[in-house]
Amino acid sequence: MTKTTHPLLKVLMYLLLIVGAVFMVFPFIWMLSTSLKTVGAISQMPPQLIPNPVNWDNYVTIWNKVDFGRYTLNSFFIVSIEMVGSLISCAFVAFGLAMFTFRLRGLIYMIMLATLMIPSQVTMIPTYFIWKEFGALNSYYPLIVPSFLGGAFGIFLMHQFIKSLPKELYESATIDGCSPPGIFFRIYLPLCKPALAALGVFTFMGAWNNTLGPLIYLQDKELYTLPLGLLYLKSENVNQAMLMAGAVITTLPVVIVYLFAQKQFVQGIASTGMKG
């Protein structure tokens, strides 16, 4: 922490920080405010910050008519499965990389880091083709199956953590007659909780906010996730108030998760510098 000397400088800093914070938060306030306006009020000049009257109908309408209830359930369903898959598989692979010596270890580790740099657009079309050949288009398989095969970011995160655990744990468990998978599931996985929490938040955010995957793979409206539902709503030319109600529903869960799991999230970013 550096010391600021001049009090005037400090006032200037507060001012800058507050202006910045308003810039960051205002869109959320505006989203919420607009979502509670009547059709007449949305185009009123000057715009009202606090809607009067408060109109909850927008939420009711899109919840019932455009099936946002269903999109919400779909999103939660996909996200839960992706979280289970990614937490187990990333820790599993990371355990293998961290605990054993084998010939291709270095190569696999290198490839893992390299995959972070290949843009997904290059692999997108062949991947789509694979799922088409499997007859899995218009289903959740393309979205959830890869999460069970470990992702580079998660493996990297777990690998760093497992390496920091004492090696004697493994030795003593072996002497007690535990097999490597047993050691992983019974001893290491529970110990990885802090890293798993960070990865869990990242996976939640990534899966919840994913637009491109559902956009490509899902055709039936009943299968839509929230971001896709919102994009669909946008194409339907509904009024701004309803669109903002949809935006609030799409944003709220991930913001709540973030508020509760801030620490894990911030540490995850700070320690790896990667995004989920």
């Binding site: 000049m45 293998g96 010596t101 079309i125 970013i269």
Partner: protein, 293 residues
């Protein structure tokens, strides 16, 4: 480390499958497709370099490159400088740090489409709150993302991207700053360095690796921009107007709306080459200003 090597293979097997199926095969296959005419349903037909030539001769490809280039040129410096300034301020003895950090970080977790629709509404020419603010202080309303001037459109989108991304970059730089040892700062203070000297001669050089990383990641994300353009302009049914095109949207449109897999693959590879070029370019200048150890 344990000697029973086969366990290593067993544990890493899921990822090896992942790499072979979803990375190696797609890379080879995508290269092949870029030399063929293919609609995803009938057999691919070899046409040599035609796709590449066609893409490179297409006006919209160059429009998309121009857009994404300017977008990166505006977005990356603004985001990096803002992230550094905010991180520096939040690293001072200041109240409500946690709250500020929370606010700055909120857009990072927000789904792009939700962020996109609210910004479109705020940018609205007639009813948008931004123009209302401008008018109430006596300025003329601005056609932000509806402007006929593409540079205006791209700049407006860059601002939205900064809103979305600056929190993440800020956290990374802040983490770097918190690793600057107190002793070093105290020593510099005893030697008579004032706040500005400390910032430029001690703090900045020590966080250059993080600033560099932020720049690289911002550049990559700028060239890969997809969600921000989709969120602001996109619609499932009508796609996106050509003048707001970026390469990634071009790939998406060619592949999944027009079923032209060949040009889409060639475009994706060209984009990859451009990103790689820029990353190497930044890497080349790295040793001039980034200090390690």
């Amino acid at each position: 480390m344990q000697k029973q090597g086969y366990w290593g293979y067993i544990f890493t097997l899921p990822f090896v499958i992942n790499v072979v199926v979803f990375l190696l095969f797609p890379i080879v296959f995508s290269t092949y497709i870029s030399f063929t005419e293919w609609d995803l349903f009938n057999a691919p037909r070899w046409i040599g370099l035609d796709n590449w030539v066609r893409v490179l001769n297409k006006h919209e490809f160059w429009v998309s490159i121009r857009n994404v280039f300017m977008f990166a040129l505006i977005f990356v410096p603004i985001q990096t400088i803002m992230a550094f300034v905010i991180a520096f301020m939040l690293n001072q003895a200041i109240r409500a740090k946690g709250l500020f950090r929370l606010f700055y970080f909120l857009p990072v977790v927000t789904p792009w489409i939700a962020g996109g629709v609210v910004w479109v509404w705020m940018f609205n020419y007639q009813y948008g709150v931004i123009n209302w603010v401008l008018e109430s202080i006596g300025l003329d309303p601005v056609k932000w993302i509806d402007s006929s001037n593409w540079l205006m459109v791209v700049s407006s989108i860059a601002i939205v991207q900064v809103w979305k991304g600056v929190g993440q970059s800020m956290i990374m730089i802040l983490a770097g700053m918190q690793n600057v040892p107190k002793e070093v700062l105290e020593a510099s203070q005893i030697d008579g360095a004032n706040g500005w000297k400390q910032l430029t001669k001690v703090v900045f050089p020590m966080v250059t690796p993080m600033v560099y990383l932020v720049m690289i990641l911002s550049t990559i994300s700028a060239f890969q921009a997809f969600d921000v353009f989709l969120g602001l302009f996109g619609s499932i049914t009508t796609g996106i107007p050509e003048r707001n095109m970026v390469p990634n949207l071009l790939v998406y449109r060619d592949a999944f709306l027009l079923f032209k897999m060949g040009p889409a693959s060639a475009t994706a590879w060209l984009l990859f080459v451009i990103i790689l070029g820029f990353t190497l370019f930044q890497k080349y200048f790295e040793k001039k200003w980034v200090h390690y150890d």
